[in-house]
C-alpha cells in the first residue's frame, strides 16, 4: 500500500512537471526559443491566482484569469524581445536571463518575499480502499490530465496546431506553403505562457508562493523537454510522470534530502543511452 501511495504522489508531482514541460516543449522544442523566463511566468501565474482568490473570486476564475494574463504577457514578450532573437539560441537565452532579473526583482519588490498560500478549492482527504488521498492533489492530477489532453488535441487536430507542427519540422518550408510564421510564433508563445500560468496556479494551490519559486520547476521542465525528445509533447508528458515517480520513490525509500538529485541521475543515464530522448527522431548525430 505504501508503494501505491508513493506512486500516486509521484504521479501528482509528475503531472505538475509535465505541465511546465509542455510549455517549454512548445516554446523551446518547437520554436527553438530558449526562454528561461518561463519559470517567472509560472511564478506570476501563481501570484495572479493568489490575488484573485484573496479578492474572493474563487479558484476557477483564478485559473482562467492567470492563464489569460500570462498569455498576454507572453505575447508582449514575444513582440518586444523574442521575435528579434529567433535566429540565435544564445541571444534568446541571454535576453531571458535579463528578463528573469527584471521580473524576479520587480516581483520581490512589489509582492514582498513572504511566503503566500491560498485556500485550495478542495480541502481534506478521502479514503479509497486502504489509500488516503488528498482531494486537492487528485484535483490537480485531473486538471493536469485535462490540460495535457487539450493541448495534445489542439496540436493534432486544429489547423493552427498543424501549422505549429509544420513550423517545428521546417520553418522555411512552412513559410513556403503559406503559413504566417510570425503570427504562429506569437500563438505558440502565448500558448506556452498560458500553460506556465496554469502550472503556476496548480503549484500555488499545493505549495508556498514566493518570488523565487521559479528555478526548480523551470530546470525540471527543460530536462523533461530533452528527455522526452525535443519537440515531442507526448514524450515530455511521459518523462514528466517518470521523473515525478522516480523522485517520489527515491525520496521515500532512499534519502529525502537528495530528492532533486534522482531526476538528474535519471537524466544523465537517459541521455547516455537514449541521446535522442524517449520519443525523439532517430538520426545520425555523431561527427
Amino acid at each position: 500500500m505504501d508503494l501505491i501511495q508513493t506512486l500516486l504522489d509521484g504521479l501528482m508531482v509528475g503531472g505538475l512537471y509535465a505541465t511546465v514541460a509542455i510549455g517549454i516543449t512548445l516554446v523551446f522544442g518547437i520554436m527553438g526559443i530558449l526562454n528561461f523566463a518561463h519559470g517567472q511566468m509560472l511564478m506570476l501565474g501563481a501570484y495572479t491566482a493568489f490575488f484573485v482568490v484573496s479578492a474572493g473570486f474563487g479558484f476557477w476564475p483564478a485559473l482562467v484569469i492567470a492563464m489569460v494574463a500570462m498569455a498576454a504577457l507572453g505575447l508582449l514578450l514575444e513582440r518586444i524581445v523574442f521575435r528579434h532573437t529567433l535566429t540565435d539560441h544564445m541571444q534568446g537565452l541571454t535576453a531571458s536571463l535579463g528578463l528573469i532579473m527584471v521580473i524576479e526583482n520587480l516581483a520581490a519588490a512589489a509582492f514582498t518575499p513572504d511566503h503566500r498560500t491560498f485556500e485550495p478549492p478542495l480541502a481534506g482527504s478521502f479514503q479509497l480502499g486502504p489509500l488516503t488521498l488528498s482531494s486537492q492533489r487528485m484535483l490537480v492530477l485531473a486538471l493536469v490530465v485535462v490540460l495535457v489532453v487539450a493541448c495534445y488535441l489542439f496540436l493534432q487536430k486544429t489547423r493552427i496546431g498543424k501549422a505549429i507542427r509544420a513550423m517545428g519540422q521546417n520553418r522555411t518550408g512552412a513559410a513556403l506553403v503559406g503559413i504566417q510564421t510570425s503570427q504562429v510564433t506569437a500563438v505558440v508563445f502565448m500558448l506556452g505562457s498560458a500553460m506556465a500560468g496554469a502550472a503556476g496556479v496548480l503549484y500555488g494551490s499545493l505549495f508556498a508562493i514566493t518570488p523565487y519559486m521559479a528555478a526548480a520547476p523551470l530546470m525540471k521542465g527543460f530536462i523533461l523537454t530533452v528527455l522526452g525528445g525535443l519537440g515531442s509533447v507526448p514524450g515530455a508528458v511521459l518523462a514528466g510522470f517518470l521523473l515525478g515517480v522516480a523522485e517520489s520513490l527515491g525520496s521515500r525509500y532512499l534519502s529525502a534530502s537528495f530528492r532533486d538529485g534522482y531526476g538528474f541521475i535519471l537524466m544523465i543515464v537517459c541521455l547516455l543511452y537514449f541521446p535522442r530522448g524517449l520519443f525523439g527522431q532517430r538520426g545520425k548525430i555523431r561527427v
Partner: protein, 349 residues
C-alpha cells in the same frame, strides 16, 4: 581597456574584410595605429589592476578582489564557450570543487596552499574528462548543456548533503590564508587582491596562448562547423574535451583563491545561478574575445555597485541593460569594439 581584443584567429569568417577590395590610400598609418590598440588595452588593464592598491580604502580593495575573481572565472569559461562554442553549465560546480577541495586538503591534511592548488586542479581535470567525454561525443550542444547542468546540480546536492566532509548546507568556515608566493606576502587584504589578480592574469595568458596556437584555431574551426573541422583532420571530440578540461581546471584554480578570500564556503557557490550569471557576463562582454569577459564583469558587477542607492532596483536596471545589449549589440561590447577596430583599420569608419 578598449582592446585586448585584436583577435585575428577568432574573427568570424563573415567579417567584411575581403569584400571591400584593396585598402584605401593612407591606411598604412591606420594599420600601425591599430596594432598599438592591444598594447593600450594591456596597459589599461595594468592600470586598472593597480588602482585598488593606491587608495587606502579597504572597500575598493575588496571590490577589486571580487571583480578580479569573477573576471578570472569568466575568462576561463570563455575558453570552452567562446572558442570551442560548447555550452558548459558546470562551471560553478568546478569553481566550488576547487574551493572545497583546496580547503579540505589544506585544513584536514595540512598541505601547503601551493601544493593544494595543483592537486585540486588535477582532480577537477579528471572529473571534467569523465563528465565531458560522454556528453561531447554528440554534435549540437544540447547534450553537453544538460549533462553538465545535471552534473553541477548533483555536485551541489552532494556538497549540501555530505555533512561529515563539507559541513552540509550551512557551509564551512575556512581559517587559513595562502602561504607566501616567492616572498610575496598574501595573507593581508592587499595580498589576497594580488592573489585574485594573479589568477586573472594566469587565465588571460592561458586564453592568449590558446588563441595564438594551432589548438586554438582548431577550436574555432570546431565552433564554426564540426563536420567541416573533422574533414580537415581535426580530432573534434578530443579538441572539445580538451577545451572543457582546461576551462574546468582553471575554474578550480580560481576556486582555490575563493576560499581564503571569503573565509567561508557554502554549497550555494556551486549553484546553477552562478553559471548563468557568468554566461550573462560573457555574452554582455563579447563571447570569444580576450577583452570580453573583463568588460562584461566590470559592467555586470560594477553597475550594481554604482547603483547601490537604488537598492532593490539595481538588479532590475541590470536586467534591462542585458536585454537591450542582446537586442541591439548581439556580439557584445567586445565584439562591437573588435569590428569597429577592424573597419577603422581599413579606413572605413
Amino acid at each position: 581597456m578598449s582592446a585586448l581584443l585584436d583577435a585575428p584567429a577568432v574573427n568570424p569568417p563573415n567579417l567584411d574584410a575581403p569584400a571591400t577590395g584593396a585598402p584605401r590610400a593612407g591606411s598604412a598609418w591606420r594599420q600601425r595605429a591599430a596594432a598599438i590598440v592591444p598594447w593600450a588595452g594591456w596597459i589599461c588593464l595594468a592600470v586598472l589592476l593597480v588602482v585598488p592598491m593606491l587608495g587606502g580604502s579597504r572597500y575598493i580593495v575588496y571590490l577589486g578582489t571580487l571583480i578580479a575573481l569573477q573576471a578570472a572565472l569568466a575568462t576561463s569559461l570563455n575558453i570552452v564557450m567562446g572558442y570551442a562554442g560548447q555550452f558548459a553549465m558546470s562551471h560553478a560546480a568546478f569553481y566550488g570543487f576547487g574551493a572545497y577541495a583546496s580547503a579540505l586538503l589544506i585544513s584536514s591534511l595540512g598541505l601547503n596552499f601551493w601544493v593544494a592548488v595543483p592537486l585540486a586542479m588535477l582532480g577537477a581535470g579528471a572529473l571534467a574528462a569523465v563528465v565531458g567525454y560522454p556528453a561531447l561525443r554528440y554534435t549540437g550542444g544540447v547534450h553537453l548543456a544538460l549533462i553538465t547542468f545535471a552534473f553541477g546540480e548533483l555536485a551541489r546536492l552532494v556538497a549540501a548533503n555530505w555533512h561529515s566532509l563539507t559541513g552540509g548546507p550551512m557551509g564551512m568556515r575556512v581559517m587559513y590564508s595562502p602561504s607566501p608566493f616567492f616572498g610575496l606576502e598574501l595573507s593581508s587584504a592587499k595580498g589576497l587582491y594580488w592573489l585574485a589578480a594573479g589568477m586573472l592574469l594566469v587565465c588571460l595568458l592561458v586564453t592568449l596562448a590558446i588563441q595564438r596556437s594551432r589548438f586554438g584555431r582548431g577550436l574555432v574551426a570546431v565552433r564554426e562547423d564540426e563536420t567541416l573541422a573533422s574533414f580537415l583532420g581535426i580530432n573534434v571530440v578530443g579538441y572539445k574535451v580538451a577545451a572543457y578540461v582546461i576551462s574546468s581546471m582553471l575554474a578550480a584554480m580560481v576556486g582555490c583563491a575563493y576560499a581564503p578570500i571569503m573565509n567561508f564556503i557554502s554549497p550555494e557557490l556551486l549553484s546553477a545561478h552562478e553559471t548563468i550569471s557568468l554566461i550573462g557576463v560573457l555574452i554582455l562582454g563579447g563571447i570569444g574575445t580576450i577583452v570580453g569577459p573583463i568588460l562584461g564583469t566590470i559592467v555586470f558587477f560594477g553597475i550594481p555597485e554604482m547603483l547601490r542607492v537604488a537598492r532593490l532596483y539595481r538588479l532590475v536596471v541590470l536586467g534591462v541593460i542585458i536585454v537591450v545589449v542582446v537586442l541591439f549589440m548581439p556580439k557584445g561590447l567586445g565584439g562591437v569594439l573588435r569590428d569597429r577596430l577592424a573597419r577603422w583599420k581599413r579606413g572605413l569608419a
